[in-house]
C-alpha cells in the first residue's frame, strides 16, 4: 500500500498546487483576485456589473430577457421605438428561472421597469428542471430567485448545508482543460499585453452583444456560415434531445414573472426566438422539436389569454420578414434579423 499512499499524496499535492494556480490567475474572475486579466467572463456576472454601471447613468425602464438568441436585440433601437431606456439582460443558456431571477434582481436595483421583452426559447421550458451551473453559482441571482425553489442536482448536494460545499464545487469546476487553457491565456496576456486576440463576443455598456470575430470575418469576406454548422446543429439537438415536454415548474416561473411584472406596472412582450431554417428542419427530423414548439406556442397563448401579455411567434425568420442569411450560426440571428424582430415587435401582436 506504500505505492498507493505515495500516489494519493502526490495527487493531493498536485491538485492543491493547481487550485493555488487558478486562485492566483483567476482567468474567469471567479475569485476576485484581480492580478491577471480576466479572459472569459460569465455573462450573468458580467451583465450584472454592466447593468449597475448603466443604471448609474439613468435608470432603465425597459429590459430584454432571454438566452444568447436574444442578445442581438438592440436596446438603442428599442429605445427609439418605445421611448424607454433599455438594457439587454439576455444571458447564455437562459431558462425560465433565469428570467425570473434576473427580473427580481433588476427590480431590487430600483429600476422602474415599464416594458419587458422576453425572448423565449423552447428549451427555456426544458423538462429537465436543471438550472444552469452559472446561475447556481451566482449567489445574488440565487438569492433573488430564492434557493428553496430550485432543485440542486449533483454529488455534493447533500453537503450544501455545510459552508465548505459551495467553494468545493467552485474549485471542482476549474478542473477542466478549458479552464487550464484560460489560465494559460490569461498569463500570456499578462506577460504580453499586446497578444490579446479579437474576442469572440463582447457586450456593450447596454448589454448589447457584439460578435467581434465574426464581424471582422464578415468585413474581410472570410466568414463561412457552414464552417461550424455540423457542430452547431448537434449542439442544438443535444439541448433538445432529452426534453420530454414543457416543465411545469418552469411554466410556473414564467407565469410568476408575468404576474410580478404586470403587478409592477410593466407591459410584457414574449417572442419565441428564431432558428435558422436548416436548424428547424434538422431538429424536426431528429427530435420532438415540432411538438415542443407547438406546446410552447400553446403556453404562450395561455399567457396571452390573461390580457396582460403580447405574444409573438418568431420561430421562423419569415414570420418577422427575416431571412436565412441573417444568422451568424445555426441558431443566432445577426443585427439585420434582430432589427427586423424589433420592428415586428412594434406591430400588433397576433
Amino acid at each position: 500500500m506504500r505505492f498507493l499512499a505515495v500516489f494519493l499524496t502526490v495527487v493531493a499535492a498536485l491538485a492543491l498546487a493547481y487550485v493555488v494556480l487558478v486562485r492566483v490567475v483567476d482567468p474567469h474572475g471567479d475569485f476576485g483576485t484581480g492580478v491577471f486579466p480576466v479572459v472569459n467572463l460569465d455573462a450573468r456576472a458580467e451583465k450584472m456589473q454592466l447593468f449597475q454601471a448603466y443604471a448609474a447613468q439613468g435608470r432603465p425602464e425597459g429590459l430584454i430577457l432571454g438566452s444568447s438568441r436574444a442578445m442581438k436585440l438592440s436596446p438603442r433601437t428599442l429605445e427609439a421605438e418605445t421611448g424607454y431606456r433599455f438594457f439587454n439582460f439576455a444571458v447564455d443558456m437562459a431558462r425560465a428561472e433565469d428570467y425570473l431571477a434576473i427580473y427580481r434582481w433588476v427590480r431590487r436595483q430600483g429600476a422602474p421597469l415599464r416594458l419587458l421583452v422576453i425572448g423565449l426559447d423552447v428549451e427555456a421550458l426544458h423538462s429537465d428542471d436543471h438550472p444552469d451551473a452559472a446561475l447556481l453559482r451566482n449567489d445574488a441571482l440565487m438569492a433573488a430567485l430564492g434557493r428553496a425553489s430550485l432543485p440542486e442536482p449533483g454529488l455534493l448536494t447533500p453537503l450544501r448545508k455545510y459552508s465548505v460545499a459551495q467553494p468545493l464545487k467552485k474549485y471542482k469546476a476549474t478542473f477542466t482543460i478549458q479552464y487550464l487553457d484560460d489560465v494559460v491565456r490569461s498569463a500570456r496576456i499578462f506577460l504580453h499585453p499586446g497578444s490579446r486576440p479579437v474576442p469572440m463576443m463582447e457586450f456593450e455598456a447596454d448589454g448589447y452583444l457584439r460578435y467581434r470575430r465574426w464581424e471582422v470575418e464578415r468585413a474581410a469576406g472570410t466568414f463561412r456560415f457552414e464552417r461550424d454548422l455540423e457542430r452547431c446543429l448537434t449542439k442544438s439537438l443535444t439541448h433538445l434531445d432529452s426534453m420530454r415536454g414543457l416543465s411545469r415548474r418552469r411554466r410556473e416561473y414564467l407565469r410568476q414573472l408575468v404576474d410580478e411584472a404586470t403587478a409592477d406596472g410593466a407591459r410584457v412582450l414574449i417572442w419565441i426566438t428564431s432558428l435558422h431554417p436548416l436548424t428547424a428542419r434538422y431538429l424536426e427530423a431528429h427530435s420532438s422539436y415540432a411538438s415542443l414548439l407547438e406546446a410552447t406556442r400553446e403556453y404562450e397563448q395561455v399567457l396571452a389569454g390573461s390580457g396582460r401579455v403580447a405574444t409573438y411567434d418568431f420561430s421562423r425568420p419569415e414570420s418577422y420578414d427575416g431571412s436565412a442569411t441573417g444568422f451568424y450560426d445555426c441558431d443566432h440571428i445577426d443585427e439585420t434579423n434582430a432589427a427586423l424582430v424589433v420592428a415586428a415587435l412594434g406591430q400588433e401582436p397576433r
Binding site: F3, F7, V10, V11, A15, K172, L229, R231, T234, Y282
Partner: protein, 456 residues
C-alpha cells in the same frame, strides 16, 4: 455508473476500495464485491438488479446440480435449462422488438405487439459470463463453486459487469480463491498504471475525436468524399480508444482488488488479416465465440463448406450480439464473408509485404466499422458511397479531426499497446501516474461521456 464519472472516482471507488482491504476474510470480501457490484449496477436502474440476481442464481444452482448429478441426461437438462433461461432473457430484452418489428413488416397479421422494453445495461456481457460458467461446468473444465457469494461476486464484479471484458470463471477462479491475501504493491502500481492509461485513452483521445465525429455524422448526407473517409477512420480510432480504454481501466481496477482480468486488445490495427484482427480486437468476445459457438457448431472439423458456413454463422451472431439491428447483422455477415474468403485464399497473399497486408486489413476493418456505426443500412450505403466518391456533399472537413486521425493512426501503429507497457512499480513512478491522472481528469471533468460499449 461509469468509470469516468465523479461519483465513481470520488465516492464509489474509494469507499469500496477501503472496505475491501479493511475486510479480512474471503467471505467478507466476496460480499463486499457483490454488494458493490449491485450498487454500481443499480445506480443506473435498481430494478434491473433483480434480473441480474435471477440470472446469477439460476446459473449458480444449475452449476451445482450439474456437478452433483451422475446422470448425463440430468446434467444436460440442467445445462440446457440454465442456458435457455439466459438466452430467453437476452432474447426478450434485446431482440423482442427487433423481431416483432420485422415480422410486422413481413406479415402484419402474425406479428406480436411492440413492447416498451428498456434494454438492461450490460445484459449481453453478464449473460455470456453465466453461460460460459455453465458450459464449462458441464464440460468438466471447472468444478461448480458452492459459495454463492463467490459466484455472485464473479458475475457482478463492477470492473467487468457492464462492458466486459468477458471473463470466464476459470480465468479468474484462482484469484477469487486467494482473494483474502494482503494487498500487493506491484499489483497496485500496475493497476494504477492501467487505469490511468485507460482513462487517458477514453477522456483525451476517444472523446476528443467523438466531439468531431458526432457532429459530422449528425448530418452525414452532407459529407464530402474526404469527410466520409475521415469520419470512417476517425470513428474506427474512436471506437478503439474508447473500448480499449475501458478495458484497460477494468484491468487496472481488477488489479487494485487483486484480480487479474485478461487482455482484451492487442494492437488490433496492426493485424495483417481479418482473422488476425479478431485475435486482437475484443479478444475476450472472440475467444468466447470460438470456444462456445464456432467449435460447438463443428468448427473446421466437418469439411471446408461447413467451416465457411460456421464462420459465417458465428460472425453474424457476433454482429447481432452487439445490437438488435440490421446494421449489426450486416457487420457480422461482412466479417463472416471476409473470414471465409481469407481462409479460402490460403497462402495466396503470402508474398504480399506485411505492411501492405496490414494496410489492406485496416481498410477492410474501417469499412466494417462504417456499417457498425451507421444508424441504418441506408446511412451505411450512403456513407460508403460517399467514400467511393458517389454523391459526395460539400460538408466541412475539420482539420483538427485530420490531425487527431493522423496522430491516432501513428500511435496505433507505433506506440506500445497498454499490455506491452512495462509499468514501473517502484515508488518513484507514483508521481508520474499521479500527474497523468490529474491531466486525464481535466478532460474527464470537461465533459463526461459514457463508453460506447455500454449500449451493447
Amino acid at each position: 455508473m461509469v468509470f469516468n464519472s465523479n461519483v465513481f472516482l470520488f465516492a464509489f471507488l474509494p469507499i469500496v476500495f477501503a472496505l475491501f482491504w479493511l475486510a479480512r476474510t474471503k467471505q467478507q470480501r466476496y460480499v463486499i464485491l457483490t454488494v458493490s457490484g449491485y450498487v454500481f449496477y443499480g445506480y443506473w436502474d435498481w430494478r434491473f438488479c433483480f434480473l441480474l440476481l435471477f440470472s446469477s442464481l439460476v446459473s449458480f444452482v444449475a452449476g451445482i446440480m450439474i456437478d452433483r448429478s451422475p446422470s448425463p441426461g440430468v446434467r444436460r437438462a440442467w445445462m440446457v435449462g440454465s442456458v435457455s433461461t439466459d438466452l430467453a432473457l437476452l432474447g426478450f430484452f434485446k431482440y423482442y422488438n427487433f423481431a416483432a418489428g420485422n415480422l410486422a413488416r413481413l406479415a402484419p397479421g402474425l406479428a406480436p405487439p411492440l413492447l416498451h422494453i428498456v434494454l438492461p445495461i450490460g445484459i449481453s456481457f453478464y449473460t455470456f459470463h453465466t453461460i460460459s460458467y455453465i458450459l464449462d461446468v458441464a464440460a468438466g473444465r471447472i468444478r461448480a463453486t458452492r459459495n454463492a457469494f463467490e459466484y455472485l461476486a464473479y458475475v457482478s464484479l463492477f470492473s467487468q459487469l457492464v462492458a466486459g471484458p468477458i471473463v470466464r470463471f476459470r480465468e479468474i477462479e484462482d484469484d477469487l480463491e486467494r482473494i483474502d491475501g494482503p494487498p500487493r504493491d506491484d499489483y497496485m502500481a500496475r493497476g494504477l498504471g492501467f487505469f490511468v492509461v485507460g482513462l487517458a485513452k477514453k477522456a483525451i483521445v476517444a472523446d476528443s475525436i467523438a466531439s468531431w465525429i458526432d457532429p459530422m455524422l449528425g448530418v452525414y448526407a452532407s459529407l464530402s468524399t474526404a469527410g466520409a473517409w475521415l469520419a470512417a477512420v476517425g470513428y474506427s480510432l474512436q471506437l478503439y480508444y474508447d473500448f480499449s480504454g475501458y478495458s484497460d481501466m477494468a484491468v487496472g481496477l481488477g488489479l487494485m482488488f487483486g484480480l487479474r482480468i485478461p487482455q482484451n486488445f492487442n494492437a488490433p490495427f496492426r493485424a495483417n488479416s481479418i482473422a488476425d484482427f479478431w485475435r486482437r480486437w475484443h479478444m475476450s468476445l472472440s475467444r468466447w465465440l470460438r470456444d462456445y459457438l464456432y467449435i460447438g457448431l463443428g468448427g473446421n472439423r466437418k469439411g471446408e463448406a461447413r467451416t465457411y458456413a460456421n464462420l459465417f454463422i458465428t460472425m453474424v451472431l457476433a454482429g447481432l450480439w452487439h445490437g438488435a439491428g440490421w446494421t449489426f447483422v450486416a457487420f457480422g455477415a461482412y466479417h463472416g464473408i471476409l473470414l471465409a474468403l481469407g481462409r479460402a485464399s490460403g497462402d495466396a497473399f503470402a508474398a504480399v509485404p506485411d505492411l501492405l497486408k496490414r494496410a489492406g486489413t485496416f481498410l477492410l476493418v474501417v469499412v466494417g466499422f462504417v456499417i457498425f456505426r451507421s444508424a441504418d443500412l441506408s446511412m451505411a450505403g450512403q456513407w460508403l458511397g460517399k467514400m467511393l466518391g458517389l454523391g459526395g456533399g460539400t460538408g466541412f472537413v475539420p482539420g483538427a479531426l485530420a490531425v487527431w486521425a493522423l496522430g491516432g493512426l501513428t500511435a496505433v501503429n507505433l506506440a506500445p499497446e497498454t499490455w506491452d507497457i512495462h509499468f514501473g512499480t517502484r515508488l518513484r513512478w507514483a508521481p508520474v501516474y499521479a500527474a497523468a491522472l490529474l491531466v486525464a481528469y481535466l478532460f474527464v471533468n470537461q465533459q463526461q461521456t459514457v463508453f460506447l460499449y455500454y449500449q451493447f
